[in-house]
């Protein structure tokens, strides 16, 4: 018996369905359902022990309490700054890997970028703490060299948080940038140079337009990672970190206030979605194209 074409197509679809099933189930069970659950949680309020009612109280609390607002905006702004700094640092690194070196040197540079990820984020961050604390290596060195009179505390500043975030995010920016730069034909740069371009105009007119999808992809990934980071701002920022994820953790774990935590979680999700949307619009990119480059 020979399969009819229609039968073949049907089988093909069934196979495709079966192959996709685990991924779809996974997405549904681990992403969609918990979010639905959290959404429901965020729209209720505790009335009495074990008694809850539908309410917008959690969102009202957020908008009514300047403290939460402040932390929210601060997290967004700091994340944006961290993303911009990461781009600034990753750009020359990626350029070196993609264009100025080849073979072993290029691979070696890539590994150097990867090394921080061989240890867990906790260890990495604790490493920074050992370096930067008042009795740590760097302040002692600075005092020893006479840069500062006494060892100064380098931890618990906004700049420290940014250093940690940039360090943690660098690889996620370097990879899409390297991909972008590698696909840039060297003769385009030579042609632009030949036609009278200089470093600035070539960067502006050729390199950046070509790398825009990669830059956008890197920025989106880094921004999301930074916004959702908990450990680095918490440990390096100490008492002044004021990261929004800490608020969520605190509400869930320390305050047992799941409703407030869920509302905060949704607000953070909305923020990250909005920022990604703005980023895509500003760079004139489409999400699908960008994610293929990431």
């Amino acid at each position: 018996m020979v399969d009819t074409p229609a039968g073949g197509a049907w089988k093909g679809r069934l196979m495709l369905g079966l192959m996709l099933a685990p991924a779809v189930l996974w997405l549904f069970a681990l992403i969609v359902l918990p979010h639905v659950d959290l959404a429901l949680l965020s729209f209720r309020e505790r009335l009495a022990p074990r008694q809850y009612g539908a309410s917008l109280a959690q969102y009202r609390t957020f908008f009514g309490e300047p403290l939460y607002w402040h932390v929210f905006v601060r997290t967004a702004v700091m994340s944006a700054i961290a993303t911009a700094l990461t781009l600034l640092f990753a750009f020359p690194v990626a350029w070196t890997i993609a264009k100025l070196t080849r073979g072993r040197t290029s691979a070696l540079l890539f590994v150097v970028c990867l090394i921080p990820f061989w240890v867990s984020e906790t260890v990495r961050t604790l490493g920074w703490m050992i370096l930067l604390r008042e009795s740590g290596v760097l302040p002692q060195l600075l005092a020893h060299l006479g840069v500062t009179d006494v060892p100064v505390e380098l931890l618990y500043h906004d700049a420290t948080i940014l250093v940690g975030l940039v360090y943690t995010s660098l690889l996620f920016m370097v990879v899409p940038l390297v991909n972008s730069f590698e696909s840039l034909d060297n003769s385009l740069i030579e042609a632009a140079y030949d036609l009278g371009g200089n470093a600035g105009s070539i960067l502006r007119e050729i390199v950046i337009p070509h790398a825009t999808p990669g830059i956008t992809a890197g920025c989106i990934v880094v921004f999301m990672l930074t916004l959702g980071n908990y450990l680095t701002p918490n440990l390096l920022g100490g008492k002044n970190s004021q990261w929004f994820t800490e608020q969520i953790y605190t509400q869930f774990i320390t305050r047992f206030n799941w409703e407030q935590g869920a509302a905060f979680g949704f607000l953070l999700l909305a923020l990250s979605t909005a920022m990604v949307w703005v980023g895509l619009k500003a760079s004139g990119q489409r999400f699908g194209d960008v994610m293929r480059r990431a």
């Binding site: 003769s187 030579e190 042609a191 030949d194 036609l195 371009g197 050729i206 070509h210």
Partner: protein, 375 residues
């Protein structure tokens, strides 16, 4: 430099003893030449002969180790590519995909600080001259291969360079378009009057397009001359072998009669050829006979009197319209020899294994001392 008054035919490009060494070899070996203003100059050579290195030194992407390059009377040593009065058409054209056609053409003008309105006007005028008027707003990938070629040239010529360098720009095109673009390039050069320096490994491109051709091999020029000179009077065995199709016959001189020498191949076939230098009996030589120089005849008496008559067996027929040829083997030595079929169609009925007579004028067969490894 002294302020010598520029002559009318002052060269646009002068290359003076330029040397470029790479770690394992010398890419350009003390090369000197000059290119006359307004001419179309080609550098022809096999891949790896150093022609690309030479071109990139003229463009400024590579610094020569020694010697000087003078363009429009000005030494280029220490002048960056973006400051040279030279523009280049790249092998893959290197049009900017992130820009429209018009922006591509206006790119160089923008770098020179030409105001936006003015550069758009000039870009459009340039596009019109290369028969692409109205294409300014199009994306680069909407153009055909030939149109892109013209944009690449327009993008350079709009800057009115002293010299336009072209790095095998036809290499990526298919055969038919390549033939067409050859003619177009020649017409463009004639119309603009800009000096073109063109590098290629395709001898047909070089011969069709150029006023002068330099044949390059191992970092040196073997010969510089008009296409006709190269074809009919090759100066070296390399040129004879590289330019145009040729029968190459290696042998030993057995007799010398003024410029004409008689030589015999290892398999004992004896021919006569004109040697470039007087050679002694016993010298190892290479002779070249162009396929169209030899004549065919079914009867030996029909061949021109005074020419040695050879006998060949037809091995195969190579039909290619006007370029058709017959491949035969000399009867005794089994030496393979190619002869162009006359356009008259007289020998269209030749059969494989048929026996046929042929001869050639020794004055038009050239011979050189065999290329040893000393050259």
């Amino acid at each position: 430099m002294s302020a010598a008054a520029p002559e009318a035919a002052a060269p646009d490009l002068e290359v003076r003893s330029v040397v470029k060494r790479f770690t394992d070899h010398v890419a350009v070996d003390a090369l000197s030449f000059s290119v006359r203003r307004g001419s179309f100059f080609s550098i022809l050579g096999p891949s790896g002969c150093g022609k690309t290195t030479l071109l990139r030194m003229i463009a400024g992407f590579i610094q020569p180790d020694d010697g000087d390059i003078v363009i429009g009377g000005r030494s280029m040593s220490g002048v960056a590519p973006n400051r040279r009065p030279v523009n280049m058409v790249f092998q893959q054209l290197a049009l900017f995909p992130m820009m429209s056609v018009g922006e591509n053409v206006a790119f160089g003008l923008a770098r020179r600080g030409v105001a936006r309105a003015e550069r758009l006007r000039r870009a459009e005028a340039m596009l019109e001259r290369v028969s692409l008027s109205g294409a300014g707003h199009k994306r680069v990938d909407e153009l055909s291969g030939g149109q892109r070629q013209r944009v690449a040239i327009a993008r350079s010529l709009v800057l009115e360079p002293t010299l336009l360098l072209l790095d095998e720009p036809l290499g990526a095109l298919d055969l038919k378009l390549r033939e067409h673009m050859k003619i177009e390039l020649k017409q463009l050069q004639a119309a603009f009057g800009t000096t073109f320096v063109y590098i290629t490994h395709d001898q047909s491109e070089a011969l069709v397009l150029s006023d002068h051709v330099a044949v390059m091999n191992r970092g040196r020029f073997e010969q510089v001359g008009t296409p006709q000179e190269l074809y009919y009077a090759p100066a070296t065995a390399f040129v004879a072998g590289f330019v145009g199709a040729n029968n190459r016959i290696a042998g030993t001189v057995t007799a010398v009669d003024g410029p004409i020498a008689e030589l015999v191949t290892g398999d004992g076939w004896s021919i006569r050829a004109r040697c470039s230098r007087p050679l002694a009996t016993g010298a190892a030589v290479e002779a070249f006979v162009r396929p169209e120089v030899a004549m065919l005849a079914r009867v030996a008496g029909e061949l021109p009197a005074g020419q040695t008559v050879h006998v060949g067996i037809v091995e195969s027929l190579l039909f290619d319209g006007a370029n058709s040829a017959v491949l035969l083997r000399e009867r005794q030595s089994r030496f393979e020899f190619r002869i162009a079929l006359p356009q008259t169609g007289r020998f269209a009925d030749l059969k494989v294994a048929e026996q046929i007579f042929f001869s050639f004028d020794p004055e038009r067969a050239v011979c050189f001392a065999a290329a040893g490894d000393h050259g």
